[in-house]
Structures are given as structure tokens and as C-alpha cells.
Symmetry: C2
Subunit: 155 residues, 2 copies
């Protein structure tokens, strides 16, 4: 079965190459403001977005390397191969990236200003969902092998 997607817009970040991308979007200090631009035909789909402080963005990781052998990768901050589904590596069977972002501003032309993206400038946007803490937040979730690599959050 082959399934087809079309980008709904484009993501602009200050990261021009994969090498410049942080391992996650909360690491750079200060965290840069990024922009999300929808194709004009999708702008009516933003109606009602005011009042949501956070969004989930899905995007197409279009600059990726060949798929990892045996579906294992060795993360850059680790020294042991891990299954791709136990990591957030972009080198996945289906290269869909996901970030929870803060929605700072909806500009009059519909562009969105957001924080916490880690993808490269020009990444195609696939979907944008409102973040719902009632179903999306698990503050006490345990992180397995990633526990010692946990990104600190400002208090």
C-alpha cells in the first residue's frame, strides 16, 4: 500500500543545513523564532487557532540520508545502536518529523511565529494540530535509555 501526501506549506528556521540543526528545538539559547507559511488555499483552516498556546507540527524530513541498516541508529550523543523507534532520529521508515511548538503570534497574513523547531529551513509542512494538554501532555512519562540525555527545561 502506498499513501500520498502533499505539503500544505513551508517551515522557515535559521538552520540552513542539517549540520546546523540542534538535536532538539529547545536547546539553542536563546530559542529562535521560526515561521510557518501555509499555502493560500489552506489559510481558512487556521480559523479558530487563536487562544491555543502550543501546536503540534508534522513535517517532511526531506534532507535525510539513506535508511539505516537493520533500522538501528547510533545517536550523536550516545555510543550504542538503538532501534529507530526508540529514538527521534529523522532517518525513519516514513520520514515524518514532529515538534511541539509554542505559538507566539499569528500574523495578519496568516504566517505563524513559533518556537522550538529543530528542522532545516525550507522543510515542507504536512500538518498542524492544536496541542491539547488533556490528551497530549504526560509530564511524568519515563524516557528509558534517553533519561540521562534529558533536555533541561527552564523553571
Amino acid at each position: 500500500m502506498s499513501l500520498t501526501l502533499s505539503p500544505i506549506g513551508i517551515i522557515h528556521t535559521p538552520f540552513r543545513t542539517l549540520a546546523e540543526c540542534p538535536s532538539n528545538g529547545r536547546k539553542p539559547q536563546p530559542v529562535p523564532v521560526c515561521q510557518v507559511t501555509l499555502k493560500p488555499e489552506f489559510l481558512p483552516g487556521l480559523d479558530g487557532l487563536a487562544g491555543f498556546s502550543h501546536l503540534i507540527l508534522l513535517y517532511w524530513l526531506d534532507r535525510e540520508k539513506p535508511k539505516p541498516a537493520g533500522w538501528k541508529v547510533t545517536p550523536r550523543f550516545d555510543n550504542q545502536p538503538r532501534g529507530v523507534f526508540a529514538t527521534r532520529t529523522p532517518n525513519r521508515p516514513n520520514p515524518i518529523g514532529l515538534s511541539v511548538v509554542a505559538l507566539d503570534r499569528i500574523l495578519p497574513d496568516g504566517r505563524l511565529e513559533v518556537r522550538y523547531l529543530d528542522c532545516v529551513d525550507g522543510t515542507p509542512l504536512l500538518d498542524l494540530k492544536p496541542y491539547l494538554p488533556s490528551t497530549d501532555s504526560e509530564a511524568d512519562a519515563s524516557m528509558g535509555w534517553l533519561t540521562p540525555h534529558r533536555t533541561a527545561r527552564p523553571a
Copy 2:
């Protein structure tokens, strides 16, 4: 630009039709245990998943209706049209569903037992990511127009 995905597995839930699906996976009481089955070639990608209490599942909403006119929908618990990107409606430009689920058990054959899915039985799985509270949890996020419809969480 047209982008292509292939399912990596299949999701089994007790919901046989769209009409049986709850509006979110935490609503049914008791919450049913669902199963995720990967295609055999992807099983090595699960290595290292033990110790994560929660996952993010992405799946293909393959039973959907025609795309909504003007990218607005009227949710079943509301009386006003909202932009699709201000809702979690399955009727989206790219029909990718997302659920944060509790990972209860990894069975010896690699099947995963999870809770909090709301999709129909047989939904194709696209991706499985470990849930990282350090980047994915925003417990205090505001929910805009959805605030009065917030799903209660057990204490």
C-alpha cells in the same frame, strides 16, 4: 510535490467503525487495551524501547470522508465551523492521525499493548516515536475554543 509513505504496521482497536470511535482515546471507561503490530522487517527498530512509558503513534486515517469545504468543520460536540487546523478532526489535508499512548507491554513477538487510541480497527501505522516529556509535554498549554470541552484526566 507528492510524497509517498508506506505503512509500517497495523493498529488493532475495539472500534470496528468510525461511528464507534470515541472523540478521544481517554474517554471510554475503562480505557481499552489496543495492540500495535509491526511488519516483521521493522521489528529490529523496536530495540531500546523498554523503559519508555509513553509513545507517540502516527497513523493513516484511511476511512475518512471527502475533504471539508473551505477547510472548516463543525465538531460533533460544537455548533460552529472551525478551521481544520484548530481541531483534531480526521478530515485534514493530509490524513495523519496522532495519539499519545501509554505503553503497557511489549510482547515477546514484538506486539505492543497500548492505551488511549481512538482510531478504527485496522488503521495503518506510519510511525512510532518515544514520548519525551522534556520536549513533548506542555501541561499548562491553553486550548482556545476547546477549553470548555477539555477531557477530564483522572487525578
